[in-house]
Symmetry: C2
Subunit: 408 residues, 2 copies
């Protein structure tokens, strides 16, 4: 099955080189395709690492080992396998990951726990150790590659390569951040898998890097949804090589900490948006702003209930300002809400206020807004100060076609 490039695709941006990082790709032939499917990132000694991982109770060995090893705070290498997620493969899957960690740690002369591995693709098939071994040997011997090549190599059913960058001033030093991500295209029996990697030359203590990543994640990756289905392999990691020469950021009081965290959140938000833009069958990019909720967390949960509602998503696909379905989704979220203080707007125009339809609102600009590619829904609960923004895409025939009509 050939899937067309998403109509919401964005061109790959120019991204800076990151001192202390060398990216290489190779053909491991995890599937019968002629493309690079193994990505190898070598990191300078002393690189700090942080990571957030899927909350799935059925996570892969890669996720289990990554979650455990990220705690020691140091990384020398990242290996990403595309085409086989190695999930639901028991001890054989774990053995394959450990073999990669041993091979890379011996090649670089570093502790095993500083080698991180991710895999994405078909599940239930143990990652073939021989292919991984040959692929890594090829990557170790390869010339460094560019960002777009790496972004393509980590992809599976993605319809375009995704990257984002930012810079920040840390004291007098300019630091660079660059990230790549894959996610949200699926063909049976593959699963939605979001893998994101951000690299920076900033010097950052691992504990602060982890805190900044978790804070950014809560407002970006945790606020997107395509279909509400959570992967067993979701992973976002940040690697900080420390080569920029800034005074190391130790905590929020360090010079440039806020600027660095803001730049990191910026990259995370841009990468998260790109995943939504490659959502299966997506034709519209939807921003849902929730305000007046009991708390920020409650606002986020209400936003996700709206974003995951098939009735809301199909209404948007049908270019229908169906605020009744938004009311329904707010009502089912299981969060504090009061029908009689609820207000809803499309494209900045309130169609319902304080529990009643706005009589005689101007329908023309609302209809025009819904015909566009970027849809904005605002919901005010009228209860408190909690707010959140979540992002999703519409639900179209393309989603059914990708996930039901074709078989692998």
């Amino acid at each position: 099955m050939q899937i067309d490039t998403s109509p919401l695709a964005r061109p790959f941006p120019a991204l800076p080189a990151i001192a202390g990082l060398s990216l290489r790709v190779a053909r491991a032939h995890y599937k019968t395709w002629d493309r690079c499917d193994l990505t190898f990132a070598e990191l300078a000694e002393g690189t700090s690492v942080a990571g957030v991982f899927t909350k799935s109770a059925c996570a892969s060995s890669e996720v289990e080992l990554g979650r455990a090893n990220v705690r020691q705070g140091r990384a020398r290498a990242l290996v990403v396998n595309a085409g086989n997620s190695n999930a639901f493969t028991g001890w054989r899957g774990r053995e394959a990951v450990e073999a990669i960690m041993v091979q890379v740690s011996e090649a670089l002369g570093c502790p095993q726990e500083q080698v991180f591995v991710s895999s994405t693709g078909v599940i239930g098939v143990p990652l073939p150790k021989d292919k991984a071994r040959a692929g890594i040997a090829a990557a170790l011997a390869a010339e460094p590659c560019g960002w777009e090549e790496a972004a393509n190599a980590i992809g599976t059913t993605d319809t375009f390569a995704k990257g984002a960058g930012a810079s920040a001033m840390v004291g007098e030093t300019r630091v660079e951040l660059a990230g790549i991500i894959k996610g949200s295209g699926m063909i049976a029996p593959d699963m939605a898998t979001m893998l994101g990697y951000i690299f920076t030359d900033a010097a950052v203590a691992p504990a602060f890097l982890q805190e900044a990543l978790e804070r950014a994640n809560a407002q970006t990756f945790s606020c997107i949804t395509v279909d509400g289905d959570t992967s067993t392999s979701d992973t976002v990691m940040v690697f900080a090589t420390g080569k920029a020469g800034n005074a190391r950021i130790e905590g929020w009081d360090s010079p440039g900490a806020d600027a660095f965290a803001a730049a990191l959140a910026d990259v995370c938000r841009n990468l998260a948006h790109l995943v939504v833009r490659d959502g299966e069958g997506a034709r519209k990019f939807v921003t849902i702003r929730v305000s007046g909720a009991a708390s920020d967390d409650s606002a986020r949960r209400i936003g996700l209930a709206i974003a995951n509602s098939p009735l809301v998503k199909t209404a948007i696909a049908g270019e229908d300002a169906n605020w009744g379905r938004v009311v329904m989704a707010v009502g089912k979220a299981g969060e504090p809400a009061d029908r009689d203080t609820l207000s809803i707007a499309f494209g900045g125009i309130w169609t319902a206020k304080n529990g009643l339809p706005v009589e005689g609102y101007d329908e023309a600009p609302v209809a025009a807004h819904l015909k566009g590619e970027d849809i904005d829904i605002a919901v005010d609960l009228g209860l408190g100060e909690g707010r959140a923004t979540v992002w999703t895409c519409d639900l179209t025939h393309g989603y059914i076609a990708i996930n039901a009509d074709y078989r692998s």
Copy 2:
């Protein structure tokens, strides 16, 4: 838009008359259609009532008043309006419901709180009081009608009339139960609305009736899903006229209590299945049996996570035994689960056991099972004794067509 009758439709069954109940229908013209859209059920004095209602935080006035009034345990009348859900209409909506209660209570000479009202259909438009008033007057003057007429009159976008019956021996007395239900067809801007009414001639104390209904509901209506979207109007009520002449069932120790509760659960289960069979775009009826969970409640939540997963539902539409997507859905349910004790079967054939694919399982009968209309998925968590069964339908182009392609 003309929607074809669901391929999973069932013929309307023969249902017994219930002594103490008179059913009538009328044209209230809530929409510009030529059909009966107002259903009136008159109940003998002394009728017990019980009800379960939507948990939506944005419930309609009908639901709010019904939930409050069911507590006093007596009913003389039920009015169901089709074509207008009267949801999200503020004080004007409430006024319309109260006007109906006053009109009917004056006609029957009964307290207002013994008159129950339900409405289903478009939201955000207050129920027109004049149309309701004329419709009720017409119903009061009409001849009694049969079950199928009433089942058709409460429907909106349903593609077939739905009813179910059962009988039970209470001591030496045979009691009859008969129920009708509507639900799960939607056209923008209507909302999924499930309204179900069960009538019996048994004599049953209101408190026991409520307990039996809640117990049945937990294993039937609470275990079905079409798209995970919860209506603002969902209502299921039971009316017991007491005309059968049995010794009144006061509690679980009364003769026939278990038999009556089993018959009630039977009717609820059959009605619930019919709603799934009329699920928008449904082509397959899916039964998901979860066992080995930490508790029954945990099993139900895992079952619903599977049943609501768009990736699982599209895989079934594609006749693909995609157990990887079932693993994903178990993993995201937020319930106790262990990847390495998880087993999954399609049509009784285990495709994955204890966290590993079953090597060399016979794919032919699995493929044949998935081509059928009734799909059976079994999931064993391998953790405890908790079990539950949930029911859903597949997710097809028909769902998108109904909810996105056409506008009201």
